[in-house]
Amino acid sequence: MKLYEYEGRRLFELYNIPQARSGVASTPSEARAVAEKLSPPYVVKAQVLVGGRGKAGGIKFAETLEQVELVAKKILGMKIKGITVKKVLIVERVDIARELYLGYILNRSLRTIDLLASSIGGIDIEAVAREKPRALIKISIDPILGLQNFMVRRVFKHLNLDSSLFDDFKAIASSLYSLFVEYDCELAEINPLALTADNKLVAVDSKVIIDDNSLFRHPDMLQLKSERLAELSEIERKAKLLGLSYVKLNGNIGIIGNGAGLTMATMDLVSFYGGAPANFLDIGGGARRERVENALSLILEDPQVKVVLINILGGITKCDEVALGIVSALEKHDNKPVVVRMMGTREDEGKAILESRGIKVLESMDEAARVAVNLSKG
């Protein structure tokens, strides 16, 4: 789960990472009220979960309370990469002398935690890696040993900061590492980490991504997760509440499969035969009839869908349960063709159920994909 900047800042506060004072608002007058408690000048920042908001006009300066209200009005409601801005953050402006980067990220290949630091910050870190790789230092941390002093010393030297700042830097690096580990982060970064004109280190932005699988041990994050539900489209929210893995796509062939890999392979095959998937929907392992019925109903209700392709390879999943689910969904929504390919556990029973309702079950996924593509073009 990606955190908004203001949510990340709350975590930074919890870990005593120095940052300018700030507050969040969802209306222009609220923004003014927030600013009243801070000292000018201010920065007003759009709160969205996509990058590039500065370029899109989502970050603006303000000197007075009136200006805060005015720019908040401009930013709230604007669209950044298709997402409407619903909240703004008002921060006391920091007098920046230099911008650095400090972050921790999971290293999937080495199975470690990587400390990344750069003497150039404030911009996309991948751009730094591409264009000025020598600005970047990367240290792999053994997850059992954790962050060690020599690592901090190496990074500090690389960043070429005044030696009087060592203790402050070490405190920030250690705090961010603790946050990363204790909050089960996939990513925790400060970009930019600013060196101010009066020689202090201050976090000017936060980016934190928390592992969804860990939320059971972070009740505060579970709370945020449920708030996120409200931000989804209706069909995505429905799918999430039903516990289905669903992703909306642009085509007209609804895809349902069991297992992420097989479902993606089904999408790919539909494209291979010239069709366009309308969605990805994985019913997961061992789905019972209700789950299948819900999944199929959801897809049949999507006006963009012209035909549905169901591809099931039963291991834990039982084909007869799937068939019963399909039948009950079609009793309610019998308006679109449904193509089924099914094999594996209790395959014969499943086929019998579907064929007794006039639904032919296809043997191979290639054939099923071809049939679905043809129907989508008819």
């Binding site: 935690i113 580990v181 089960d184 069991n258 539909v270 094999m343």
Partner: protein
């Protein structure tokens, strides 16, 4: 002798009294897997499908010193502790079926296993099967026919689909290893391929990859650097997946400019590995390479 699991496999089931653990213990027994014991803390003394249950791994090993492999069905919240316990008791191979384990937990138990020289397969894996000899996993045994093709995959049901095509073609499988769908895995493509290279029962290798991470790219550069004396065919799923969206399990996401199917396919092609466009075309490519 096939890799990882074979006729010498003597299995412990961790979480044997749970719904999944008990159900699959039955299926593995039916398949012929030699299961000696199960563990569920607090439930020692019971039997599940005739298999004795113990409170701890060391107790199980004390009674059944032949145990060399463990399969873990313990729920995600408690899986970390269960895997550490198995590693600590010196079990050589630990197959972690459990999905949704927090990735920081996996990082730590995988690292600890490296120190102690245990092998971990998974987490979030369908398991490992050497058809006809031993099944340590949840896969439907009947789609895996005995043969000489090694199979390594990141995703569950897709593995069954690929195995089914290979089995139907008459080629068959020597061992199928599900390395798991999570962002970090105990065994990766490269480590698994090294086992297959040494295995006289394996003539060719099929790699089933997907979007997310760079495991396929690293495998490609490993093949490019070392050469690989056995033919390799790859299949990558998620060609049509959009960036930034998690497609089902946690590992399958195109994020931060890396992990799309295109870069994986390019890397594999550049290493001289043929990438099948569809699952059903895999056997034909294998036949050509094995000619």
């Amino acid at each position: 002798m096939p890799i990882l699991v074979n006729e010498d496999t003597r299995l412990l089931v961790q979480g044997i009294t749970g719904r999944e653990g008990s159900f699959h213990t039955k299926l593995m027994l039916d398949y012929g897997t030699k299961i000696l014991a199960g563990v569920t803390p607090g439930k020692g003394g019971q039997k599940v499908h005739g298999i004795p249950v113990y409170d701890s791994v060391d107790e199980a090993i004390e009674k059944h010193p032949e145990i060399n492999t463990s399969i873990v069905f313990v729920p995600a919240k408690f899986a970390y502790d269960a895997v550490l316990e198995a590693v600590n008791c010196g079990i050589e191979l630990i197959v972690v079926i459990t999905e949704h384990i927090p990735v920081h937990d996996s990082l730590k138990f995988i690292r600890y296993a490296k120190y102690r020289r245990s092998l971990i397969v998974g987490p979030n894996t369908p398991g490992v099967i050497s058809p006809g000899l031993s099944k340590v996993g949840i896969m439907p045994g009947k789609v895996f026919k005995r043969g000489k093709i090694g199979l390594v995959s990141r995703s569950g049901t897709l593995t069954y689909e690929v195995a089914n095509e290979i089995s139907k073609s008459g080629l068959g499988i020597s061992t199928s290893v599900g390395i798991g769908g999570d962002p970090v895995n105990g065994l990766d493509f490269i480590e698994t391929a090294k086992f297959f290279l040494e295995d006289e029962n394996t003539d060719a290798l099929v790699i089933v990859g997907e979007i997310g991470g760079d495991a396929e790219e690293r495998f490609a550069s490993f093949i490019e650097k070392t050469g690989f004396e056995k033919p390799v065919v790859a299949y990558i799923t998620g060609r049509t997946a959009p960036p930034g969206k998690r497609m089902g399990h946690a590992g399958a996401i195109i994020s931060m400019g890396t992990g799309d199917a295109k870069s994986k396919i390019e890397a594999l092609n550049n290493a001289g590995i043929q990438v099948a466009e569809t699952v059903s075309s895999i056997p034909k490519i294998l036949f050509n390479l094995l000619k």
